[in-house]
């Protein structure tokens, strides 16, 4: 099983549509300094750095080498991890593996993106098969729209059924000073917003954000000395899907379903909605917010709309989803997944401020890459046996 690992500090920059005051490396430095301050550590305490983003959004390959001055990685081991949308969660997993191996005690994970520096959709297309997939692909929005459409067809859901996810997450963001978007909207606002790619409307969709996030992982030999209430990593699973999107079923997020099926028994979860106190899930559209929670077995297939519209996943509800405002409020892609990890950890650590879920002891965190692979991580206040 390896050493037990916990998160002992986090840092993030406020999401912005364009941080013209910093270059990427400087923005990374801001998040790193905040994480070190949060953990009361210095750069010298860090044994290794894991860093990731989606290279083609800034057109700078090898961020690992380019960002050394700002990441604190000078004369340290550094690895770049980049897995598309799941980059942030995969960066966290890689940091976990480094510490769990027993070879590194304190590892710094960094995710970041300056989406303002490029045409996001044009860049995302370059992640896909060049000869047969690219000519017709419409970026992340296109893939997400295809999934949303198939889901509505298979389960009879409507656009209105999904819209509340956008209302919920944006309302939650009002309590998160780091969220990019802080807007109070209604279902009617969502339904009236312009259609981007049918059935996804402007307010159903996540923004493009500039931000960086840094998370410090420590082994059981150090975690409790550094942090009074560290967030222990209870389990991790990730799953990839076929090369061609056309080979993937679109009505269900199979990779997330498979990951949950593998993770839950390992950590004694039989009723996720009851047993988890809070969730920070990678939900880039409102439709994902009803479709993908079914893959996590929070409700039966087709039951997503009912669960979400019941208020059970609101702050104050049975199991709040995305107190941070989620991806719908901030989407600095290389950091997005890591923000889920950081926000989940903040909940366990009791440092989530105005967005704190009282007495949060178990958090579920997910990452998504379009289309369509998934990462899943469980965090807890109790040190694993």
């Amino acid at each position: 099983m390896g050493k037990r690992v916990a998160i002992v500090g986090t840092g993030q920059t406020k999401g912005s549509s364009g941080r013209k005051d910093v270059n990427g490396q400087e923005m990374i430095n801001e998040a790193v300094m905040k994480a070190l301050t949060d953990a009361e550590l210095t750069r010298d305490d860090i044994d290794a750095v894991i860093i990731g983003n989606m290279d083609h959004f800034e057109g700078i390959n090898y961020v690992d080498t380019w960002s050394v001055d700002g990441s604190g990685g000078y004369m340290k081991p550094i690895m770049k991890v980049t897995t598309g949308g799941t980059t942030g969660t995969t960066v966290a997993m890689a940091a976990y593996y480094h510490v769990a191996s027993g070879l590194f005690d304190k590892v710094l994970a960094i995710g970041w993106e300056k989406n303002s520096e490029s045409d996001t959709t044009g860049a995302i297309i370059t992640a896909f098969e060049p000869i047969v997939d690219r000519p017709t692909f419409a970026g992340a929005v296109g893939g997400l729209a295809l999934m949303a459409n198939r889901y509505m067809h298979e389960f009879g859901a409507t656009q209105e059924d999904a819209a509340y996810v956008a209302v919920r997450d944006r309302r939650h963001a009002l309590k998160n000073p780091n969220a990019h978007l802080q807007i109070d909207i209604t279902i009617e606002d969502v339904m009236k917003s312009p259609m981007i790619a049918w059935p996804i409307k402007y307010l159903d969709m996540c923004p493009r954000t500039d931000a960086a996030c840094a998370v410090i992982f420590a082994s059981e030999d150090y975690a409790e000395k550094i942090c009074p209430r560290p967030a222990w990593i209870l389990g991790i699973k990730n799953r990839h899907n076929f090369t061609f999107l056309g080979d993937c079923a679109l009505g269900t997020l199979l990779s997330l379903e498979d990951a949950a099926e593998a993770l839950y028994p390992r950590i004694g979860i039989t009723e996720p909605l009851k047993q988890f106190d809070v969730m920070e899930l990678y939900l880039p559209t409102s439709f994902a917010g009803v479709q993908w929670i079914e893959a996590l077995r929070l409700c039966p297939k087709g039951g997503g709309p009912e669960l979400v519209n019941s208020g059970a996943t609101d702050m104050g509800g049975q199991c709040p989803i995305n107190p941070s405002g989620g991806v719908l409020s901030s989407n600095p892609i290389g950091a997005t997944g890591l923000l889920r990890v950081a926000e989940g950890a903040l909940q366990i650590m009791g440092r989530a401020d105005k967005r704190q879920v009282p007495d949060a002891k178990m958090a579920l965190v997910s990452g998504f890459g379009g289309c369509n692979w998934s990462d899943l991580m469980a965090l807890g206040a109790k040190k694993p046996d």
Partner: protein, 158 residues
């Protein structure tokens, strides 16, 4: 020393530098493109283990992880599995041109296959498109061995 004025924040453009690539299609996709160019025919490959037929044809079945050597000719007709009508313009990295909008990205289950195939659909009004509707390819007169030797798929009347 003058203070750096905060309002002077510059952005530097990458310029018009090109970074072209030339990708090898391989035996399978080359056959796929040649059949389109010369015979106005779509072909897939069949896995010897799971018997699934996949389009575009490829060397390895991702599920079974075995090599597929059997090429299967397809009628080209199919049923719509999912679609989206895209309203936002962006620069297609392959052509360097803005994609004309709206356009319908369609995922089609071609008859005789066990996966879906991505292409355009001629109809761009979501109210007139139905998942499950029957579609067929419209071939270009001048074909060059490219995905877009099919101009788009169109609904089969009736």
């Amino acid at each position: 020393m003058e203070e750096i004025k905060k309002k002077e924040l510059l952005s530097v453009y990458s310029g018009e530098a090109e970074q072209p690539f030339e990708w090898s299609a391989g035996k399978y996709v080359s056959r796929f493109l040649v059949e389109m160019r010369d015979n106005k025919t779509l072909v897939g490959s069949k896995c010897p283990k799971c018997s699934k037929v996949m389009v575009p044809p490829r060397r390895v079945c991702g599920d079974c992880f075995v090599q597929m050597d059997e090429i299967v000719k397809l009628s080209g007709k199919g049923s719509l599995y999912s679609f989206t009508v895209v309203n936002f313009g962006f620069v297609d990295p392959d052509t360097g041109l803005q994609r004309p909008v709206p356009y319908t990205c369609a995922y089609i289950t071609l008859d005789g296959t066990n996966c879906t195939y991505a292409h355009y659909l001629s109809e761009t009004d979501p109210a007139k498109i139905r998942i499950g509707m029957r579609v067929q390819p419209l071939w270009e007169e001048n074909r060059r061995g490219h995905l877009l030797d099919i101009k788009h798929f169109e609904p089969i009347e009736g």
